[in-house]
């Protein structure tokens, strides 16, 4: 094995990735070979902290999330990646005893302002979870659920369901059995169903919290391809444990780590750096990032 376990693929649209872990990624000589356009920021996060009771899970995170890109959030376990991403659609506040400090602007609007409806926030900023979590309903009803409860009245629900399933690259596999239980699908199909379900409410952002950690490599591959397709229309933030995955799919990568407090009891997540994915994986600006991605830590 080479010293670097990472495989970096610059042409992320290329589905036939063959580079094994033994081949060191080709490091571009000029910093602007892989062009990551500076699209408008969708989220502008400043000094974000999150508390579970008295415990501070993340501290002073400031970063931008740009539109129509995939932003990966990586870092060791317990560094607050999931907590962070759940702040972006106000999922965290469903847990009693939690508190947010700092500010998240979404298209310039304060996401946590008093007059902002968290339900509307969550509709616009959809979420896909670690474990596929379809409802115990039919495939069709799973997709139609969101539009129905959000009072969306599409001209034809059938069309909306089909379109959503198509976008999630699932339609061809399920078109003959949409009335069957979602549990009849494989894990990877269930996860794509969850993506379809998310798309059906027409969000602008899709947050993905380790969407492939329960899936096998083939199913993971399909989801990754799907993500790259979806970024044409959506802004995607993905939390992943899998550095190769971050390297393969994302445009920008944020590296979080956990700082252990003086007493050694509390672990607080902090953002170390955010940069173009390629830069993070080839020439990180911070020593801690380098240690992590080269496997010396974490």
């Amino acid at each position: 094995m080479s010293q670097n376990p990472l495989t970096l693929n610059h042409d992320v649209n290329d589905a036939t990735r063959s580079a094994g872990p033994t081949r060191r990624p080709e490091v571009p000589t000029s910093p602007d070979i892989a062009v990551v356009p500076d699209t408008d920021p969708v989220f502008q996060i400043s000094d974000l902290s999150f508390f579970y009771g008295a415990f501070r899970a993340i501290r002073d995170v400031s970063m931008d999330v740009r539109g129509n890109q995939i932003t990966a959030v990586i870092g060791p376990s317990g560094c607050g990646k999931s907590t962070f991403i759940r702040c972006l659609n106000r999922m965290n506040e469903l847990i009693p005893g939690t508190r947010v400090a700092g500010r998240i602007d979404y298209h310039g609007q304060d996401l946590y302002a008093d007059d902002v409806d968290p339900i509307e926030v969550r509709r616009r900023i959809g979420m896909v979870f670690q474990k596929p979590n379809p409802f115990p309903k039919s495939i069709y009803d799973n997709v139609a659920f969101g539009p129905k409860v959000n009072g969306l009245k599409p001209a034809s629900m059938d069309d909306l369901v089909e379109e959503s399933l198509r976008r999630a690259a699932l339609w061809d596999e399920v078109k003959d059995k949409v009335k069957k239980s979602a549990f009849s699908l494989s894990g990877g199909q269930q996860q794509r169903l969850c993506i379809a379900r998310c798309i059906a409410v027409k969000p602008e952002v899709i947050l993905m919290d380790e969407p492939c950690s329960a899936l096998d490599p083939l199913a993971t591959n399909r989801i990754e391809e799907l993500m790259i397709e979806l970024k044409q229309d959506y802004t995607i933030v993905i939390v992943t444990h899998n550095m190769q995955q971050a390297a393969r799919v994302s445009d920008r990568t944020a590296f979080f780590t956990a700082e252990v407090s003086d007493e050694g009891r509390e672990r607080t997540g902090v953002l170390v750096e955010l940069d173009r994915t390629e830069k993070i994986f080839t020439a990180p600006g911070d020593r801690r990032t380098e240690d992590y991605i080269t496997g010396r830590f974490g």
């Binding site: 659609n89 999922m91 339900i119 509709r123 409802f135 115990p136 659920f145 549990f183």
Partner: protein, 313 residues
Amino acid sequence: MAIPLQAPDIGIARRRSRPGERVIVGLLALCGLLSVLVTVGIVLVLAGEAARFFAKVPIVDFLTGTRWAPSGGRVDAGEFGVLPLINGSLMIAAGSLLVGLPLGLATAVYLSEYAPARVRGIVKPVLEILAGIPTVVVGFFALNFITPSLLRPVFGEGRVFIFNAAAGAIAVGLMILPVIASISEDAMRAVPNALREAAFGMGASRRVVALRVVMPAALSGITASVILGVSRAVGETMAVTIAAGNTPRLTTNFFESIQTLTAYIAQTVSGEAAAGSTRYQSLFAVGATLFVITLGMNLLSIRLVRRFRQAYQ
């Protein structure tokens, strides 16, 4: 070549017979057998005495008769149409459901989906206390409070009998409320959080999550709680005897006095029906009817629970 059955000596003790264990297993099996025997015994006695009753009163007359007027004491006469009693029991069951189901379900939804942990920590034990109040006390409460202070002022002195089905139904409703609330709440809390998050994540409100995600997923448990509640209502004796009266009557008016199957048994057992008289034997016929109804309900509940059981991994 035969492999020697002796274990190689690797320091593990050889298999020993443990006579003490066998004795314990035997005792445990006997305990299990006892409950089966008792059930069989009760059914046999019920069936035997009921058969003697049906030898005197044709079963068709019993099941279709609309007048229940057993004559007292030693005279073998009277009318034994069980419909008024069944009607009384059904009124209590339906009425109590009308009270207990919405309140119980609302309580369960609140406790499972809305209540902060602190509130739930108080309300749940209180519910359990409510379930533990002796039924005779609830009946007494119905007779002395619900009827005079609640029903009569609202619906009028003249319309509401002192003993009336409504008071009985409300009393029984209060008794099945904790049953429905507690079991339904357990079922709802057993619904995985991942389903709630999925719905919240696409912009569902708490109400939508509770009513359209959690309740359907918990339907089998909720159904079980309702059937258990109905079974309890049909079998309930003391509260209805005290509050609803002892007047067998084929009515739909909840403000009249009625008699349920159970109340008839309680009344007659404590009366002076001579052993062997038709009235005495009618006890077993009514008991068998009650048994068939609750048995049917239990079977129905098993079927419904299976049918509504949704796998959610």
